[in-house]
C-alpha cells in the first residue's frame, strides 16, 4: 500500500522565542486527492503548522518540534527540506519574496534544476506547469512585470513543476487585490478538478475558498485540533463555537444566521452566495428590507465646511498620469473608502490629500490648509496619515516617545505632552508596552500605535493606506472597529482598501477610481449597487453578489451590508 501523502501525529511546535506550543498535539491523515482547509484564529499556529509540513520546521526555522510529520511515508525530521520538496511543494503568502530568478521561465525551472533533472525533463515540466496556470505566453518576461495575481500563479506553477503530489498553500491570496484573488482561485479550481494533487490550504478568505475544499481542520486558540471533518459539517455544525473562537464564517452564512434570528425561516445554513440566494428565494413572503439608501450613522454634521476639498487634482510622474482632474468633497465625520484595482491611483490620491507627496498648489484643502505649502506641524494637527507598513513611520526608541514626538515638534508644554501621551496609551491599550521599542510590538500593537501617533496632535482627519493588507480577518476587524469608534466620535476617516465587504460594512461613502479618474463618489449602498464598480474592474462584496441573484425578492437586490439585513 502506498503511504498517505501526509500523516501528522501528536505534532507540537514551540518557536524558540515563545513559550506557548502552537500547534499543540495535532494529529490528522490526508488521503490522496483531498483538498483540506486549515482554519484557526490568529496565533493558533496555522502558518507554523504549514512550515512543518515540508520540514522548514525544524530544519530552517529555529523551533522545537515534537511528534512526527510523515510526507509520503518519509519523516520530515530525518529528511532534508530539499529531499522533501519532491513530495511536498509550498506556496507562500507574499508573491514578491518567493521569486528568485529573472524570468518566468527560469523561475519555473529553478526547483527542478536544483533536483538535477535532465534539461529536457526540466523544460517539459516547466511548459506543462506554465500552461496550467496560463503563463506560458509570458515565459520570457521578468516576473516583476506580472500583476500580484500573476506572480502568485507563477508560484503555483513552480510548485507544480516540482511534481510533488502534495501542495501546501499558506494564505496565498492575503496580499492580492480582488482580481488577483479570482485569478489564483480560478487556477486552483482547475487544479483540483483535474485531480491528482492533495492540497492543504491555509486561508481566512472563506468566501473565495469554500466551494473548492472537501475537508476542514480547525485549530483553536490554544493550538489544539478542535474540529476535523467535511467542510460543510465542520462549519455549519459548530457555528457558535467557531464564532467564539474567532474563526470567520463565510459572509453568506453570517447573513443567514442574522436573518434566522430575525425570524426568516432558513432550514439549512448556506455557505456560498448561490446557496443563500436559493434559500431566500424559497421563502414565500419576506418583510421588505430596510431602505438600503440609509446612510451609516456617523458623526457627520452637514452644516459645517467640508473636511476635505479636492479640486481638479492631477498628478503626473514622468510621462504617466497617475491622477487626472480629480475633484472630491469629503464632509466632516464621513468614513470614506477609496477603492480601485492596483494602479488606479488610490494611494496617490490619499498621499496628495495628506501632503505625503505634495500636491500642486491650490488643488487640495484640508480644514482650511493647503498641504502643498503647509509645514509639517500644521499638517500634523489637521490630518494624520497611517502608512501601509506601520514600521515605516516609527522614528523614536520607545512607544511613549513615539506618541510624544508629534507634540514635541509642536513645542507643547511638557505636562500637556505627558498627559496626552498617557491618555493615548490607555486609549489604544498600550500601557504595558510604554517603554518597549516600537519595532518589538506585535503586528496589531504596531498598527494601533501608528493610529495613535497620527491622532495625538489632534488631527480631525485620519487617512490610512491599505490598513488591512496582509492581515487576517480578526486583526482587520479589530482595527476597523477602532476606526468606526473614532469615526463615531467625530473623526473623518479615509481608507484605501481592497476589501469590498469591509467597505460595505464600515464606509459611509465610496470613491471609485479607475486609471487615475474618479468614476463615482457616492454613499456606500448606492456605490456598491451602481455600475461604476464593474466599470472600474471591481467586484461587489460577497453579500451583494448573493442578493443580486435573488429572483423572488426584488426589493432586497441592492443590499450589500450585513447591517442592512433585518
Amino acid at each position: 500500500m502506498t503511504p498517505a501523502p501526509l500523516e501528522v501525529h501528536g505534532l507540537r511546535i514551540r518557536h524558540d522565542d515563545r513559550d506557548a506550543w502552537t500547534p499543540d498535539r495535532v494529529s490528522f491523515t490526508l488521503r490522496e486527492g483531498e483538498v483540506v482547509l486549515l482554519l484557526g484564529p490568529s496565533g493558533s499556529g496555522k502558518s507554523t503548522l504549514a512550515l512543518a509540513l515540508n520540514g522548514l520546521i525544524p530544519h530552517a526555522v529555529p523551533a522545537t518540534l515534537e511528534g512526527t510529520v510523515l510526507v509520503a511515508g518519509l519523516s520530515t525530521t530525518g529528511a532534508t527540506v530539499a529531499r522533501l520538496s519532491e513530495s511536498v511543494a509550498m506556496v507562500f503568502q507574499d508573491p514578491d519574496s518567493q521569486i528568485v530568478t529573472g524570468t518566468v521561465m527560469d523561475e519555473v525551472c529553478f526547483g527542478t534544476e536544483n533536483l538535477l533533472a535532465s534539461v529536457d525533463d526540466v523544460l517539459e515540466r516547466a511548459e506543462r506547469a506554465l500552461r496550467q496556470v496560463g503563463l506560458w505566453e509570458r515565459r520570457g518576461e521578468n516576473p516583476d512585470r506580472l500583476s500580484g495575481g500573476g506572480r502568485q500563479r507563477l508560484a503555483i506553477a513552480c510548485a507544480l513543476a516540482l511534481g510533488s503530489p502534495l501542495i501546501v498553500l499558506d494564505e496565498p491570496t492575503a496580499n492580492l487585490d480582488p482580481a488577483g484573488i479570482e485569478e489564483v482561485y480560478a487556477v486552483l479550481r482547475e487544479l483540483v478538478a483535474e485531480g491528482g494533487h492533495t492540497v492543504v490550504l491555509v486561508e481566512h478568505n472563506l468566501d473565495a475558498a469554500i466551494d473548492l475544499v472537501d475537508r476542514a481542520l480547525v485549530i483553536d486558540r490554544d493550538g489544539t485540533l478542535a474540529f476535523d471533518g467535511p467542510v460543510r459539517d465542520v462549519l455549519l455544525d459548530n457555528v457558535d463555537a467557531l464564532l467564539t473562537m474567532g474563526v470567520w464564517l463565510p459572509v453568506s452564512t453570517l447573513a443567514a444566521l442574522r436573518l434566522r434570528a430575525a425570524g426568516v425561516p432558513i432550514p439549512e445554513l448556506p455557505l456560498t452566495p448561490t446557496e443563500l440566494a436559493r434559500a431566500l428565494d424559497a421563502v414565500a413572503v419576506m418583510e421588505p428590507a430596510r431602505p438600503a439608501m440609509d446612510p451609516v450613522e456617523t458623526g457627520a454634521s452637514l452644516d459645517e465646511r467640508p473636511a476635505i476639498t479636492v479640486q481638479n487634482l492631477s498628478v503626473k510622474r514622468g510621462r504617466s498620469t497617475l491622477l487626472n482632474n480629480v475633484s472630491l468633497e469629503v464632509p466632516r465625520g464621513e468614513f470614506l473608502a477609496i477603492v480601485g484595482v492596483n494602479g488606479a491611483g488610490k494611494t496617490t490620491l490619499l498621499q496628495a490629500i495628506a501632503g505625503v507627496v505634495a500636491p500642486p498648489r491650490g488643488t487640495v484643502d484640508v480644514g482650511g490648509l493647503d498641504p502643498a505649502t503647509a509645514d509639517v506641524r500644521a499638517l500634523a494637527a489637521s490630518i494624520g496619515f497611517v502608512f501601509q507598513n506601520p514600521e515605516h513611520q516609527f522614528i523614536r526608541m520607545t512607544v511613549a516617545e513615539e506618541l510624544a514626538h508629534g507634540l514635541e515638534i509642536a513645542r507643547l508644554e511638557r505636562e500637556e505632552i505627558d498627559a496626552r501621551v498617557e491618555a493615548m496609551l490607555d486609549r489604544f491599550g498600550l500601557r504595558a508596552e510604554r517603554d518597549v521599542h516600537p519595532f518589538l510590538l506585535s503586528g496589531g500593537q504596531k498598527r494601533r500605535l501608528s493610529v495613535g501617533t497620527a491622532l495625538i496632535a489632534g488631527a480631525p482627519v485620519l487617512a490610512l493606506d491599505e490598513p488591512t493588507f496582509g492581515q487576517d480577518r480578526e486583526r482587520a476587524a479589530a482595527l476597523l472597529d477602532l476606526l468606526a469608534q473614532l469615526n463615531a466620535e467625530g473623526t473623518t476617516v479615509l481608507v484605501v482598501t481592497h476589501d469590498m465587504q469591509l467597505v460595505a460594512d464600515y464606509a459611509s461613502s465610496v470613491a471609485i477610481l479607475s486609471d487615475g479618474e474618479l468614476l463615482s463618489h457616492r454613499p456606500t449602498a448606492e456605490a456598491l449597487a451602481g455600475d461604476a464598480l464593474a466599470a472600474a474592474g471591481l467586484r461587489p462584496p460577497p453579500l451583494a453578489q448573493a442578493m443580486r441573484l435573488l429572483r423572488n425578492h426584488p426589493g432586497w437586490r441592492s443590499i450589500s451590508r450585513l447591517a442592512d439585513l433585518p
Partner: protein, 269 residues
C-alpha cells in the same frame, strides 16, 4: 525612461556583434592586464590608444541602445575636458614643465604642462572606463554568474544567491522612498547640514534593515522549499561555454596590449 532589464530573454546577435557572443570571463580576462598597466602609465598616448581600441571594438562588436551611444559620444569628450582642466588646477606647478604659461590670475599661473598632466590623468581614467564598458555593456549579470560557476568553479550556492539578492535592489529603493516620505510627514526633516542629514539617514536604517531581514528570511525559506542546495551541482539549461573564439579574443587582446606597451616603450614621444 525604462531601465534596461538585465533578465530579459537573450537576444541572438549576428556574428559581427562578436562582443555579445563571447564568454563574459573572456572579455573581463582580456581587458584586465591592460587595465592594470594603464594605472602605471603617465603619458598621454598610451591611454589614448587603449581608449581608441576600446571604442573601435564597441562600435564594431557591440549592439547598444542609442541612449548608451549618446552617452558614450557626448560623455567621453566631456569627461576628458572637464577632468583635464580640474586635474590641471590641482597639480603642483613645481612638478610640471613651466615653459608655456596659458593664463594667470593674481599670483596663480596655469601652465601648459599642467594641462598635459591633467589630460594624461583624465585619459587614464576614461580609458579604464571604456575598457570596462567592453564587458559591462555586452554581458548580463546572470551570464556572468553562470560563467563563474561553470568555468571558475565558484560554488553555485554563492552565485545564485547573489543573483537572487540582486532582485532586492529595486525593492529596497522603493521601500527607502516610502520610509523617507513617512519620516518627512512625521516631522523628521528637522535641520540642515551634514549632522542633521546623517541623523536622518540613521533613522531610515532601522526600518529598512528590519524589512530587509524579514524579506531575506522569506526568500531563503522559499529557496529551501524548492530544493536549493540539494546537490553539489545543479542542472544548467544555459551553458556559457568557453569556446575557441573566446580563447582567440583573449590572446589577440593580450597580444595587442603587449604590442602597444612595447611600441610606447621603444618610441618615447
Amino acid at each position: 525612461m525604462t531601465t534596461a532589464d538585465p533578465y530579459r530573454e537573450r537576444i541572438v546577435h549576428p556574428p559581427i556583434r562578436f562582443l555579445h557572443r563571447l564568454n563574459p570571463l573572456a572579455k573581463i580576462g582580456a581587458t584586465l592586464p591592460a587595465m592594470g598597466l594603464l594605472v602605471f602609465t603617465r603619458d598621454v598616448a598610451t591611454p589614448l590608444i587603449f581608449l581608441l581600441v576600446a571604442i573601435l571594438l564597441l562600435v564594431v562588436g557591440a549592439h547598444l541602445p542609442w541612449r548608451l551611444w549618446l552617452a558614450v559620444a557626448i560623455g567621453i569628450p566631456l569627461l576628458i575636458s572637464v577632468m583635464s582642466f580640474s586635474f590641471a588646477l590641482w597639480t603642483d606647478p613645481a612638478q610640471v614643465d613651466r615653459s608655456v604659461t596659458l593664463f594667470s590670475v593674481g599670483d596663480y599661473r596655469l601652465y601648459l604642462g599642467s594641462i598635459a598632466l591633467g589630460l594624461a590623468t583624465a585619459l587614464r581614467l576614461v580609458s579604464l572606463i571604456a575598457l570596462g564598458l567592453l564587458a559591462g555593456t555586452t554581458s548580463t549579470g546572470p551570464d556572468l554568474v553562470r560563467a563563474m560557476v561553470q568555468q571558475l568553479r565558484v560554488p553555485y550556492r554563492i552565485g545564485y544567491t547573489a543573483l537572487a539578492a540582486y532582485r532586492f535592489v529595486p525593492r529596497f529603493g522603493h521601500e527607502l522612498q516610502v520610509i523617507r516620505s513617512a519620516h518627512r510627514v512625521r516631522g523628521m526633516a528637522g535641520g540642515r547640514g551634514p549632522l542633521a542629514g546623517a541623523r536622518r539617514y540613521l533613522g531610515y536604517v532601522i526600518p529598512l534593515l528590519a524589512g530587509a531581514i524579514r524579506h531575506a528570511e522569506r526568500v531563503a525559506l522559499a529557496m529551501d522549499s524548492r530544493a536549493f542546495g540539494a546537490h553539489p551541482n545543479r542542472t544548467e539549461r544555459h551553458l556559457v561555454p568557453f569556446r575557441v573564439r573566446d580563447g582567440v579574443f583573449l590572446i589577440l587582446f593580450w597580444a595587442t596590449t603587449a604590442a602597444i606597451i612595447i611600441l610606447r616603450e621603444t618610441n618615447p614621444l
